[in-house]
């Protein structure tokens, strides 16, 4: 069988990393929100908003990095809405998240269509190009796998490292981990529960939006309706899979990316006698299987989903 061949090909791993990149942004964003105790089901909409806003900014001439900033800003904006609804106002995190998804998606679509009413083919931008670093790119295997990637993929890897560092090595990370476990521990030490949670949700949402921006500014070069296609929801699953740890989150996203890349490659082989949907199901089914394996050890942020009201027990 040429299964092995697939796994040994650098292009396969390059594809896995490329598919994983938006998920990495998303899962790290979701992880930061959840570590602080807030489930953010707005992720699917925030992805869309990031994809649309980032692309639109570049299209209007903001430059690629300008687009990245705008996308992050859009994510932060919707994150702020979710944060205000769920943290000081203490509304249900599920419903606020789904509300934010509806709002961000419909606002993105409406804005796009109102700005570009008469297109029959989506306008293109010049997207991020693969970084070609002389010397490194020529390394066997690693070179092609890593250096077919654009700057945004490297940014995603950096975000993982930075998040791990902040969470486990700095006073801020300590406070975020504490506020997701027991907000009164944080308050009794003079820190602001609301401040930390709102901050975490805003930053996390900005990262999620970068996942969307990757789709329109690196994976592709135009914005389409429906292009996020459930990628946000996958990140919510990956967060649990990762037991809320950045390193495992990267691993989970990569595994998912690898499944997906594998699925695409396998489909052309055996696609003639196994229905294509079976392959498409594979990443989801395997995610569920993986969850079952890690479930016993899952270490939930204990305050997840619980709003905190000062002076109320």
């Amino acid at each position: 069988m040429d299964f092995l061949e697939i796994f040994l090909s650098a292009n396969f791993w390059a594809a896995a990393l490329r598919i994983a990149t938006p998920l990495v942004f998303g899962v790290i964003g979701a992880l930061i929100c959840e570590r602080a105790g807030v489930l953010n089901l707005g992720i699917e909409g925030i992805f869309t908003a990031g994809a649309m806003a980032g692309w639109m900014a570049v299209w209007l001439g903001a430059g690629l990095w300008g687009g990245v900033l705008v996308a992050a800003g859009a994510g932060a904006f919707f994150g702020l809405i979710h944060a205000i609804l769920t943290v000081p106002l203490g509304l249900s995190q599920h419903v606020s998240g789904i509300g934010v998804t509806l709002f961000a998606t419909s606002l993105s679509y409406f804005t796009y269509r109102t700005a570009l009413p008469d297109v029959s083919s989506p306008p293109r931008i010049e997207p991020f190009k693969p970084l070609d670093i002389p010397g490194l790119s020529d390394l066997p295997f690693i070179g092609p796998a890593l250096f077919q990637q654009t700057a945004l993929t490297f940014l995603a890897l950096f975000v993982v490292a930075a998040t791990a560092f902040v969470l486990y090595r700095t006073p801020l990370g300590l406070a975020i981990r504490a506020v997701g476990d027991n907000p009164s521990a944080v308050e009794s030490q003079g820190l602001s529960v609301y401040g930390l949670r709102i901050g975490a949700v805003v930053v996390g949402s900005a990262l999620m939006a970068l996942g969307g921006a990757f789709l329109t500014m690196s994976a592709f070069d135009a914005f389409f309706f429906g292009m996020v296609n459930g990628r946000g929801w996958i990140c919510i699953a990956l967060t649990v899979f990762a037991s809320w740890r950045p390193g495992k989150a990267l691993l989970g996203a990569l595994l998912f990316g690898a499944f997906d890349a594998f699925q695409v490659r396998l489909q052309t082989d055996v696609g003639s006698f196994i229905p294509g949907q079976v392959f498409l199901m594979m990443p989801y089914v395997l995610s569920i299987a993986a969850l079952i394996l890690v479930a016993r050890k899952a270490d939930y942020p204990r305050a997840l989903l619980t709003p905190y009201f000062r002076g109320q027990r």
Binding site: R169, T170, P171, L172, L174, A175, R177, A178, D181, N182, S184, A185, V186, E187, S188, Q189, G190, L191, S192, D299, P301, R302, R310, G311, R313
Partner: protein
């Protein structure tokens, strides 16, 4: 005890009033605290003690009145900004809440350091912090494993972490809300020793307690709140238990005591029963309970009492051994079967395990018997009958609430306990398991619980009383067994025991085998 009336004032509360809706939880309460002074705050459940402390710490904002605290260096009194816990912390107020405020997923060190460093800092200076803490622990005698996750610590250890949190921040006023409610006598004694040491170094301390003995033993001054108002503020010297109890309640409280009574037939046995895992596991426990007796289980918290209670009530499967009730083998049964077999349980954590907060008092009174024919027909609830019986229980047990439809969570701890008592004892169970039944209750409510347990014994039920309060155990139990690291000693007649023997046993003396120390 020496008075400290000459020492400078560190804290002053002036005419504090706090209302929740139209109800005044604190009314016109003033208080002055001096350096090195230990003040005990007394009052019935709901008297407003916690509320007052929450105002001091900035969790609540008072409607009237204000809080002043002395400048660290000059000693002049400055107003404390209202509603800002971090301002209170900076000013040197440390608070150990009735319900611990620790993040369970973090280590002790993390919890102590939390919020003490700038959030924008890129590093955390743990080595220096560790040194300071080692020093603090040595001076105060409060030792904990700084690298242990909070979730692995016992209640006593958690409390030490809480106090260290305050000391690490150079607290000048330390507030402890019912610190001994969950401690053993030895732990309490150690705690008060520590507090005295700290006070001698100049720390001003306020502690809230329902235990009059320790209030008299450990404080310099006593303040009593009743219905939100200050009714007394007096030196401890010259105060008596009786006088204090009367000040709190407004009348005298009768204490129930056990009368002689011959034990009946064997009701419940545990044979070589094991359950659970980790540090709170049970190992090959033997236990026998007879009709008409109260069997006390003494032990330092976290030695397997909770597992024993869960195993007895069918909430946790036995991994080995046997459980028999009234001759029937119930080893593999669940909570439902145990209840049906005549087993009643008063859970240790009454808020978490005793009531369903948002449901009504009536519903909480019916929850254990909801499937009984008197409560339902063809699966449909009989509302009239349920409400009627609830009203009777409210009357019979004197449950103070706004009627049977009020959500149970609005009740005070004492009244919540009465709901649990009413629904468990009303079915005239054969066996009653009471875990920490009077923890955190005031004298009146405690007396009530004791009377109910003795009534059950008088009618022939067997009662297992798990408690960390030795006085309670000695007064109520016919026999007492001690639990240590999941091993249970043979029960001995209470008359043959005294506090110090029990205390030694609780510390592990007399236990054999793989985990206990030599006899």
């Amino acid at each position: 005890m020496t008075t400290v009336s000459a020492a400078p004032i560190v804290l002053q509360l002036t005419q504090i009033t706090k209302r929740f809706g139209s109800f005044a939880a604190n009314e016109d309460v003033s208080l002055t605290l001096r350096r090195g002074e230990i003040l005990a705050l007394l009052g019935e459940n709901g008297a407003g003690k916690t509320t007052l402390m929450n105002i001091l710490f900035g969790h609540y904002v008072a409607d009237e009145g204000n809080v002043e605290i002395a400048e660290r260096t000059s000693g002049t009194l400055n107003a404390l900004p209202a509603g800002q816990p971090n301002a209170a912390l900076d000013a040197g107020i440390g608070m150990v809440h009735q319900h611990f405020t620790l993040a369970e997923n973090l280590t002790a060190l993390d919890n102590i350091l939390l919020g003490t460093e700038k959030l924008s800092a890129m590093t955390s200076s743990r080595t220096a912090a560790r040194q300071r803490l080692d020093d603090l622990m040595r001076r105060s005698g409060l030792t904990v494993d700084l690298d242990a996750r909070i979730s692995t610590l016992s209640v006593g250890e958690k409390q030490r972490v809480e106090i260290l949190k305050a000391l690490y921040r150079d607290a000048r006023v330390l507030v402890l809300d019912e610190p001994t409610a969950v401690l053993t006598p030895q732990e309490s004694d150690t705690l008060f020793e520590t507090l005295k040491t700290l006070a001698a170094e100049g720390l001003a301390i306020i502690f809230i307690s329902h235990k009059l003995d320790e209030v008299i033993a450990a404080s310099h001054r006593i303040m009593v709140l009743r219905l939100g108002k200050k009714v007394a503020d007096q030196p401890t010297e010259g105060s008596t238990k009786l006088q204090l109890a009367e000040l709190m309640v407004g009348k005298s409280v009768p204490q129930s005591t056990r009368s002689e009574q011959a034990a009946g037939p064997l009701l419940l046995t545990l044979k070589q029963a094991s359950a659970g895992e980790g540090r709170t596991a049970l190992h090959a426990v033997d236990l026998e309970l007879f009709s008409g007796e109260i069997l006390g289980i003494a032990g330092v918290s976290g030695n397997g009492q909770a597992t024993l209670a869960r195993a007895l009530s069918g909430l946790e499967p036995l991994t080995a051994g046997q459980l028999q009730l009234d001759g029937k083998d119930l080893s593999g049964s669940n909570a439902r079967k145990m209840i049906d077999a005549g087993f009643a349980r008063i859970p240790e954590d009454r808020h978490k395990d005793g009531i369903v907060g948002p449901m009504s008092v009536a519903e909480n009174l019916t929850i254990e018997t909801i499937r009984a024919p008197e409560n339902q027909r063809f699966g449909f609830l009989k509302f009239g009958a349920i409400a009627e019986r609830a009203r009777q229980a409210i009357k019979a047990y004197d449950i103070r609430c706004q009627g049977d439809k009020a959500p149970a969570r609005l009740l005070s701890g004492g009244n919540i306990q009465k709901i649990v008592l009413a629904r468990t004892l009303d079915a005239a169970p054969k066996v009653v398991l009471a875990a920490q039944p009077s923890r955190g209750l005031d004298v009146g409510a405690t007396a009530d619980v004791h009377r109910r347990l003795l009534d059950a014994r008088a009618r022939g039920a067997g009662v297992i009383l798990i408690s960390e309060d030795l006085d309670e155990l000695m007064r109520l139990s016919d026999r007492i067994a001690v639990i240590h690291r999941g091993h249970l000693s043979a029960a001995e007649k209470t008359e043959t025991l005294d506090r110090s023997t029990l205390g030694l046993k609780m510390a592990g003396h007399g236990f054999h085998g793989d985990t206990g120390e030599a006899a």
